[in-house]
């Protein structure tokens, strides 16, 4: 009887994923066995787990290991993105406990779900096979659907969960269909094989099957990263989801979507670059413009940041449309900066908000600058960074992305980009106008700043400023990370 030969399996590339999965399962069990209404200890355990994993991921910098017959890879690109995901998860875990306690929905499942999301995102960044990427995407998405609807007693949260689930499932259909067509055209789901097949058979935009496959895959990712016109779910989901999860969703999964999309477009579909580059040009313009213009009219701060997050996806698309090394490295850097500044801003929103998701309008920030100077200073830094003012991380990020576009010759794209930036300044400034230039409408019943949130704020401010003043420490890593692509 002949044995089935098992291909050599190297677990190193997915060791972080394994560790986080095991930790998540352990937390699930701990949660049901330990009878305690407080879940703070779970947040500590998961935070330590995330930090430990980050150390492990970081130690793999500079290595290139393929495993599972080339379905998963550990390279600098994946490592860089994995660090972003872990950062987003770590910061989100820090701000979650106090919020969940206040909203009476402190269920222990939150932390395992966050960790599973991270596992999914990591697989997306490390996947070099359409199936792996899809698997990661689903693990991430299913956990996120639950996280969006986590506040069961709140109708808006329910709405967010359901909407996200329906549209997410819909977009997954597109993605899978695109993958099927690509497989049909090239006979493989392995990214590298797709590229060689396409190169050998001279498949470019003339091949309808191949082109349609790429377009559908792109559509699927556009849903995930909230690109106009596939952005309709974003404001409702971001507004309804528990604030810490909104913070997490706007940073982590967006970066994961960019990671997978970048790898696919640049490695699997370089022969179609002329097509997707043009397409992304249009999408970037639409996304930036619609996001910013709609944000101008919003009053709810979570909605403002939701639309601003759409606009920021648009800026990152500028780099993707350019598709050159500057633009691509720009995306990496931008995603990292965005994680710091956006989660930081959401941390402030959590502290200003009150039970039942109330106190979330711009008007409720009135007088914050003098009631709670430190908090307001932190918010000011995040907002200036989001609007791209130097010397913050947001400026360097935009600088990088627009450089990529100009280098590629997309001058007008860059011009539209900066005009959008100028428009966006208005709604960020509006928050600051309320914080510093208006008197508070009522007395502040102040919620205490818990130590974890304080830590999150300190980390975010430090990240935003350090990346803005001495970006070189990260730039070189971003440039290393995209060398393979």
């Amino acid at each position: 009887m002949d044995m089935i030969t098992i291909p050599a399996v190297n677990l190193t590339p997915i060791l972080p994923e394994i560790i986080l999965s095991v930790l998540a399962m352990a937390l699930l069990l701990i949660n049901v066995f330990v009878q305690s209404s407080k879940k703070t200890y779970l947040s500590y355990i998961s935070f330590i787990g995330v930090v430990g994993t980050a150390v492990l991921v970081g130690s793999g910098w500079g290595t290139h290991i393929e495993s599972f017959s080339g379905a998963v890879v550990q390279d600098n690109f994946a490592t860089f993105f994995k660090m972003i995901f872990l950062l987003a998860a770590g910061l989100a875990i820090l701000i979650a406990d106090q919020y969940m306690e206040r909203e009476d929905c402190n269920h222990g499942e939150l932390y395992p779900l966050i960790l599973f999301t991270v596992v999914g995102m990591m697989l997306m960044a490390a996947g070099t096979d359409l199936m792996t990427i899809f698997l990661g995407l689903e693990v991430m998405s299913v956990s996120l659907y639950v996280l969006a609807g986590f506040n069961r007693a709140n109708t808006k949260s329910n709405e967010a969960g359901l909407k996200y689930f329906l549209l997410g499932a819909f977009s997954t259909g597109f993605l899978l269909y695109g993958m099927a067509l690509t497989y049909g055209a090239t006979g493989s789901t392995r990214i590298s094989v797709i590229a060689t097949q396409a190169g050998q058979m001279g498949m470019s935009s003339g091949n309808i099957l191949f082109l349609a496959g790429m377009l559908l895959i792109l559509t699927g990712f556009c849903f995930k990263i909230a690109v106009v016109p596939f952005h309709m779910w974003t404001p409702d989901v971001y507004e309804g989801a528990p604030t810490p999860m909104t913070a997490f969703m706007s940073a982590g999964p967006k970066a994961a979507g960019f990671a997978a999309a970048l790898r696919l477009l640049l490695i699997a579909f370089p022969t179609l670059q002329a097509d997707w580059s043009q397409l992304l040009w249009v999408l970037a313009v639409l996304t930036m413009t619609v996001g910013n213009i709609t944000a101008l009219r919003q009053d709810n701060i979570k909605r403002i940041l939701a639309y601003s997050s759409i606009a920021h996806a648009g800026y990152a698309l500028v780099g993707m449309a350019a598709g050159n090394s500057t633009g691509t490295a720009g995306i990496l850097f931008y995603m990292l900066s965005y994680t710091f500044m956006n989660i930081g801003a959401f941390a402030v929103i959590i502290l200003v908000g009150k039970k039942g998701e109330s106190n979330g309008n711009v008007q409720d920030f009135a007088g914050l600058g003098f009631k709670h100077p430190m908090l307001a200073v932190a918010m000011t830094i995040f907002l200036f960074s989001l609007s791209g003012m130097p010397p913050t991380a947001g400026f360097i990020g935009k600088f990088y992305l627009f450089s990529g576009a100009i280098q590629k010759g997309y001058i007008w794209l860059a011009v539209i980009g900066v005009l959008n930036s100028a428009a966006s300044v208005y709604y960020y400034l509006r928050v600051m106008v309320y914080m510093y230039m208006k008197d508070p409408t009522e007395d502040f019943a102040w919620t205490k700043v818990s130590a974890p949130i304080a830590l999150c704020l300190v980390l975010s401010v430090a990240g935003t400023m350090v990346l803005g003043i001495v970006p070189s420490i990260i730039l070189q890593y971003a440039q290393e990370a995209i060398k393979l692509i």
């Binding site: 130097p390 600088f399 100028a422 208005y426 106008v433 230039m437 070189s472 730039l475 070189q476």
Partner: protein, 494 residues
């Protein structure tokens, strides 16, 4: 020289902000700290002035007296480069003086959130110093944007009237202009990298780029837009009257005295040298906008009821002369334009201070509310008359020197413009005389019981008045300081 004096000039105010932190809630302590920092800056600037001839013996390339250079973001080729020549030295001195004036004039008037106010002033000073010293375009852009943020808060928090509207308008106007400049900077950097294979943002390096005329025109247009908004040139000036009127006195002083100068300075330092042909081609446009600005702003100034708004419009007119002096791009006119920047900075700062002092006493700036102040506030009226006469361009006072040089230089290259501009000189005479007549001399229109100037105010005004007179009578040392850089810029031999 081992002491990085330029870096100290830029970063000392920021360090001053940190010094303010322990005294955050103690107004009595915070004010002296800030003033000491500003005075130290002034001392440094004056010390540089005293020693510039010594430094000029052994200059850096391109005639720079001092140069500090270090890598900052090597991945992009961005360097931390500060440099000082005669032009920036003059601007630095102006900055240091205007900030001391700004702090002194708001000594008593800012009663709330004083520490925040002081720290905003200091951040602003750092930003403006940086703009006048930076030689790396990315670094320049950093400072250029950095000075907007404190001004946004200064107008928004301590302003009056429609302060929120004004501050947002100011911020959005200036920011949109500078963002396009950022793109142009990036484009220039990429073109340089394409031609030489090295990436750099340094002015001296970028000067070597060979640009086809069309590219040059586009890039120059982007730079020009950013600078013209700050200047402000005619159709882009609408933020200025609002911002000046609604800003607190110190804010108006800094806006008029320094912020407008950053636009003209940047045009001289970056715009013309980087894109000479394009600038040459755009000269007619530049001339006409400047002339329209002079006439239009003067007419509008004549119709104002609010003293502060009147002076704000007069600023647009006076900056029009600076614009003409730059547009002529000829040694005499250019020196005149630079001198005029300093003159206007001192004079307008003084006028804004004086209106602020009156506003503090009478709580109104309506021209129609006053009259007959000569009898009631003799000291105030004396100084006001002096500065008004300066603004009119009377010989012996500093504005005359600047305007004379500008017109004398311009008449060689474009007589028509010079003649028209000369006609424009009449306007300040008209609206200033009207202002002085209605406020100082006319019969008292309503009884106001006002106190005359206190010693602090007399001190501020006396210093500014002395500067006006000194620069009017004996501008030679300043002109001598400007000689080398101006010759280098206009392509002559020093």
């Amino acid at each position: 020289m081992s002491i990085p004096i330029l870096s100290i000039l830029v970063f000392l105010p920021l360090a001053g902000c940190l010094l303010l932190l322990p005294a955050w809630n103690c107004r009595r302590l915070a004010r002296p700290i800030a003033l000491v920092v500003a005075l130290t800056e002034l001392t440094l600037a004056l010390w540089l002035y005293a020693s510039w001839k010594g430094l000029a013996v052994n200059p850096f390339p391109q005639g720079f007296l001092l140069l500090e250079d270090a890598p900052w973001i090597p991945a992009f080729g961005i360097r931390y480069t500060l440099a000082l020549d005669g032009i920036s030295l003059l601007m630095i001195m102006l900055t240091a003086i205007v900030f001391c004036v700004g702090l002194a004039v708001s000594w008593d008037s800012i009663k709330e959130r004083t520490s925040l106010f002081l720290s905003m002033m200091l951040v602003m000073e750092a930003g403006i110093m940086g703009v006048f010293l930076a030689l790396d375009l990315a670094l320049f852009y950093l400072f250029w944007e950095m000075m907007l943020i404190p001004m946004f808060f200064l107008i928004g928090i301590w302003g009056h009237g429609r302060r929120l509207y004004s501050t947002l308008k100011f911020f959005l106007f200036t920011m949109s202009g500078s963002l396009l400049m950022l793109l142009a900077i990036i484009a220039l950097h990429l073109l340089y990298a394409q031609q030489t294979g090295v990436s750099s943002f340094q002015l001296q390096e970028l000067l070597k780029v060979q640009l086809p005329l069309e590219t040059q025109l586009w890039l120059y247009a982007a730079f020009f837009l950013a600078f013209a908004i700050k200047f402000p040139l005619f159709p882009l000036h609408t933020w200025l009257p609002d911002a000046h009127t609604d800003a607190p006195t110190a804010g108006s002083v800094i806006l008029a005295g320094l912020l407008l100068k950053t636009g003209s300075y940047a045009l001289i330092r970056f715009g013309y040298p980087l894109f000479p042909q394009a600038a040459q081609m755009m000269t007619p446009l530049f001339y006409s906008l400047a002339l329209i600005g002079i006439f239009y702003a003067s007419l509008v100034a004549f119709a104002q009821q609010d003293m502060k708004r009147l002076i704000a419009y007069s600023s647009i007119g006076h900056m029009g002369y600076v614009a003409i002096g730059i547009a002529a791009w000829q040694p005499v006119a250019l020196s005149g334009a630079i001198i005029q920047m300093a003159n206007h900075g001192v004079t307008t700062a003084a006028l804004f201070c004086m209106v602020g002092m009156l506003d503090e006493r009478a709580h109104t700036r309506e021209i129609a509310a006053f009259g007959g102040l000569w009898g009631k506030l003799p000291l105030w009226s004396f100084f006001f008359l002096l500065f008004a006469v300066t603004a009119m361009g009377v010989p012996g006072l500093n504005n005359f020197v600047g305007e004379f040089l500008i017109l004398a230089g311009t008449i060689k290259s474009s007589p028509l413009v010079a003649v028209l501009a000369f006609c424009g000189i009449v306007f300040p005479l008209i609206y200033m005389v009207r202002l002085v007549q209605e406020v100082v001399f006319q019969k008292e229109r309503q009884p106001l019981s006002l106190n005359d100037l206190n010693p602090r105010e007399i001190g501020i005004l006396a210093i500014l008045a002395l500067l006006d007179i000194w620069m009017g009578i004996h501008p030679a040392p300043l002109l001598e300081m400007l000689h080398v850089p101006v010759q280098l810029l206009t392509g002559g031999t020093p």
